[in-house]
Amino acid sequence: MPVFASAPAHLRTPIRLPSSFTSRPELPNISATSSAPQRSSSRKCQLSYSSSSSAPSQNPEPLKLEALSPILKNLPKVIATSSAIVIVFNLGSHLFSCNGAGGGGGGGGNGFGGGGGGGGGDGGSFWRRFFAPAAMADESQNQEWDSHGLPANIVVQLNKLSGFKKYRVSDIFFLDRRRGVIVGPEDSFFEMVSLRPDGVYTKAQLQKELETLATCGMFEKVDMEGKTNPDGSIGVTISFTESTWQSADKFRCINVGLLPQTKPIEMDPDMTEKEKLEYFKNQEKDYKRRIDRARPCLLPMPVYNEVLQMLRDQGKVSARLLQRIRDRVQKWYHDEGYACAQVVNFGNLNTKEVVCEVVEGDITQLVIQFQDKLGNVVEGNTQIPVVKRELPRQLRPSYVFNIEAGKQALRNINSLALFSNIEVNPRPDEKVDGGIIVEIKLKELEQKTAEVSTEWSIVPGRGGYPTLASLQPGGTVTFEHRNIKGLNRSILGSVTTSNFVNPQDDLAFKLEYVHPYLDGVYNPRNRTLRVSCFNSRKLSPVFTGGPGVDEVPPIWVDRAGAKANITENFTRQSKFTYGLVMEEITTRDESSHICPNGQRVLPSGGVTVDGPPTTLSGTGIDRMAFLQANITRDNTKFVNGTIVGQRNVFQVDQGLGVGSNFPFFNRHQLTLTRFFQLKEVEEGAGKPPPPVLVLHGHYGGCVGDLPSYDAFTLGGPYSVRGYNMGEIGAARNILELAAELRIPVRGTHVYAFAEHGNDLGSSKDVKGNPTEVYRRMGKGSSYGCGVKLGLVRAEYAVDHNSGTGALFFRFGERF
């Protein structure tokens, strides 16, 4: 096929650059694994690539995907999903059907009729030439070759070569006849030749090469001649004259994506001049209509201007220029993620206006299908709207397919945690030319899972030696029923104990029911209902000694209860949660006995149990019901791996007066954290992150009944660093202030911080005044510095109350 029409100058000749999408751009498999999410900041993804195994069998020739390589390069770095699933991204593997016989039609010039048929059939189209130049050479490499058997240093025409010999081509020269120079490999035409130096070719191969060059439309005239070398090889010189058209000062880009191809009327060679004229006129009219019907491109003004500048600079429109324009336009598309966009043709040449025809890749259909483990299409359990609501609008029909939208879809669907494998696969629509069908293939996870993990622990027996009886079987039993009714509802239960024989010692359980799409799956409002039963056991930081106080007997706070809450997600990070909590709180001493009062070690070594009351009721067991609301505003984002933005959290617990001693209270806390970017930096992978100043403030207060386990404590890695949990005090109202300066250093950062915590004089308003009983100051500052080593923070913090410093290793982030 064709073919640049070296048509008469008076014809407006659309040249058809056949858009055969021969290459199968097999994008890499991307498997993303991540560690369990800790804090949102410390998420890490590992990417590995492997090409799909099906590629070689379908395309025996190694492909050189120059045009698509930008996508290949930037695809992997974007997808960062959080579960260990494999995501395959396929681009269409079929030819766009605008190829073929029809392809040549647009030109309609006298000069190319014969070439048209030949080109169309073999698929050796314009693009093919670009993508697969090394094909033939590779096939014949490492083969025996024959000497040319001619005297050295003579010039031989191609047709003088022997048809039976295999010639070794030592050099290839490209001679631009118009300019009279030999062009180097940097020239854009050079890549069109599939011959490679040191390749071994037969005469037929060389002839075919010449033929394809001649028919590609870029050249008015191409010749090939050999020059014999003394060693029996030949040097090939390809001399050519580039096609040129009259200069243009306008440029237009149109999307011909879903336009039906115009079938050219066969031109009868016996046509009279008049008929011919009529024919061309018709064709001209057709083309005009075609342009009018075509939709405008996405191509933005700056690129238009750039192209116009190119046209202006060049003067005459040459094949090289068109090639450059094509490259520029395609580069923009591919940089923007429109992976299916192709420049298919330049039309209207020899007029003032160059028309660039682009198939942008309009989505005609969105198909969601489920696969079983073997890859067979099955009817899925998941309801389609659940998947659909996760898809960006840009994947719906009538939008242009964008690979970023595809990735977004992948991430969103993956965050549902319902599928083990997700593929978003754009494929050409066979029915509509230039259309793309977006296929989303999903493999569902097992709906019901149960898991038992066991562990044996050896506890010291009598005399300190472990005995057989001191082997304790422990472990966790988990069951999960996911995706109930296909609406992503789930029930999850787990029981953990360190001793199955005596599970009453420490039995942790959790039972949770999650009901997403509370407002209906079609409603864009995203509210999720969670109902759970839980228990927990924590060491109370209220009963902790201040500096110099040896050992305060610990108090364990056991909570067991149920809660129901509704979470409304505004954005990925910002949300509003409100619900009801009912719980029973039991306070216990070291030996698990219920204790209504804190203990104190006397200097004499004795222990008294007359410390501050642990519960509101004074019995050691409290029951209460309260409303809880939490609103989180988080607009932080990562700039080169460093978090920047702000996070505000307000939480309020409102007692209802239901429970032991009718607890009625309002416990509220406000946290404000801001991450100031101190320097503008260029964003991009591998670029250094900016230095960041973190300012943090936390106010907590309570009005009404305040049992000690709900008192706010000061000190600890998430309160005032450099102190132990609760070492500064436990109070009714607290204020914490912190500042941290982070300076990036070699892929990580060092930081310096200063923090202060203050009870605002409200320690005495906690019953029993635990702050004073355990000799704490009620306020304290600290400062220090540290370095982040992967997930671990190593920091040296000086506690201002005692003036001593210590080195700490902590996991996760403070803010």
Partner: protein
């Protein structure tokens, strides 16, 4: 605690006749003022002689003393009546246990005192301990926290082991003066009594009181016996509180080897018969016009911080809803509006209308 049974105050008979006369006189005075019951609370650190003082006051071994170990943690009330007058003395366990305030003892005392009326508090300490430290302050603070500041209007400081020879040859008066001064200062600090409330500073001039005894001394209560010579050596130390009352300091010697005067009355080194003096001061304090302390739940527990502002909680909640939750919600909406979207998301919205 079990000794709620009111017995006849027979111990009064064991006193020397002169003392008895004095006591009856004072009791009569009380009866005139319509005071038929007098409840005395005795508090102090451990081992200072609280129980002994109680026994000396009653005139019999009403409560057991435990000189070498910490006593039980239960308070004891001894009630004696004589001629229609009832005297209740509440002996309490020492408030200090191993260098700390014994909260359990304090709690026991509090619950024991519940619904009782205290007319007089005897804060007992030793004269012969030379130092006043934090612990004293803690004890005073504990008492104040439990019974309120007003208790000090009805308190007197009792210094036991009065029969001593001061170290370094200090004159007895001076030693006593210094000791009580220091103690009063600790008391003032511990009780959180404000300085500007004091009309007379802690360093009240003891010598002046000696020198100009009669008028000044008599006016506040005006019921001293005529024997001014006796008063002369009475050592009364004032701390004027905001209400204008004072905390008198009284010396006590419980030891059996206590010197006696010619009337067989136990006397201090200053020559004062101390039992009658003590009762006299008690009487004066009881009649000093301030109110007796009625111990109720509220008093014991102090102002409950858990109750403060409880009524305002609905207002707080409304405030939080409108001034915390709502603004954050608006800010989130602002974030959503301002969110920088990738270019592909914004680009071809205008072309959705096209059809195939």
């Amino acid at each position: 605690m079990a000794s709620q049974v009111i017995r006849e105050w027979s111990g009064i008979n064991t006193f020397a006749p002169a003392t008895q006369t004095k006591l009856f006189e004072l009791l009569g005075k009380l009866k005139i003022e319509n005071v038929n019951t007098l409840t005395i609370l005795v508090m102090g650190k451990g081992g200072v002689g609280k129980s002994s003082t109680v026994n000396s006051l009653i005139g019999e071994r009403a409560v057991s003393i435990s000189p070498f170990q910490s006593e039980g943690t239960r308070p004891v009330m001894v009630s004696r009546s004589r001629a229609g007058f009832t005297l209740n003395v509440i002996d309490t366990p020492g408030l200090i246990e191993g260098g700390y305030i014994n909260d359990m003892a304090l709690n026991n005392i509090k619950s024991f005192l519940l619904n009782k009326t205290i007319d007089v508090l005897l804060y007992v300490d030793r004269l012969d301990s030379y130092r006043v430290d934090n612990l004293d302050r803690e004890v005073v603070k504990a008492i104040t926290d439990s019974l309120g500041k007003a208790i000090w209007n009805r308190a007197l400081v009792v210094l036991t082991h009065a029969q001593l020879s001061p170290p370094d040859g200090l004159p007895y008066d001076e030693f006593f003066s210094k000791r009580s001064e220091a103690l009063i200062r600790a008391l003032r600090l511990g009780a959180g009594l404000k300085k500007h409330d004091m009309q007379i500073e802690g360093d009240a001039r003891l010598p002046q009181l000696y020198d100009a005894p009669s008028e000044a001394m008599l006016t506040p209560w005006g019921l001293f016996p005529s024997s001014q010579t006796e008063i002369h050596y009475f050592v009364i130390f004032y701390l004027i509180l905001s209400q204008g009352s004072a905390i008198p300091v009284v010396l006590v010697e419980n030891s059996g080897r206590c010197n006696k005067n010619e009337n067989e009355e136990k006397i201090l080194p200053t020559g004062t018969p101390w039992i009658s003096h003590l009762v006299q001061i008690i009487t004066e304090v009881a009649l000093n016009g301030s109110k007796s302390i009625v111990v109720d739940k509220k008093l014991i527990e102090g102002p409950n911080p858990n109750d403060r502002g409880k009524i305002l909680i609905p207002i707080f909640l409304a405030f939080q809803y409108f001034f915390a939750i709502k603004p954050i919600e608006w800010a989130i909406r602002g974030d959503i509006a301002q969110e920088s979207r990738p270019s592909w998301e914004t680009r071809d919205t205008s072309m959705v209308s096209r059809r195939f």
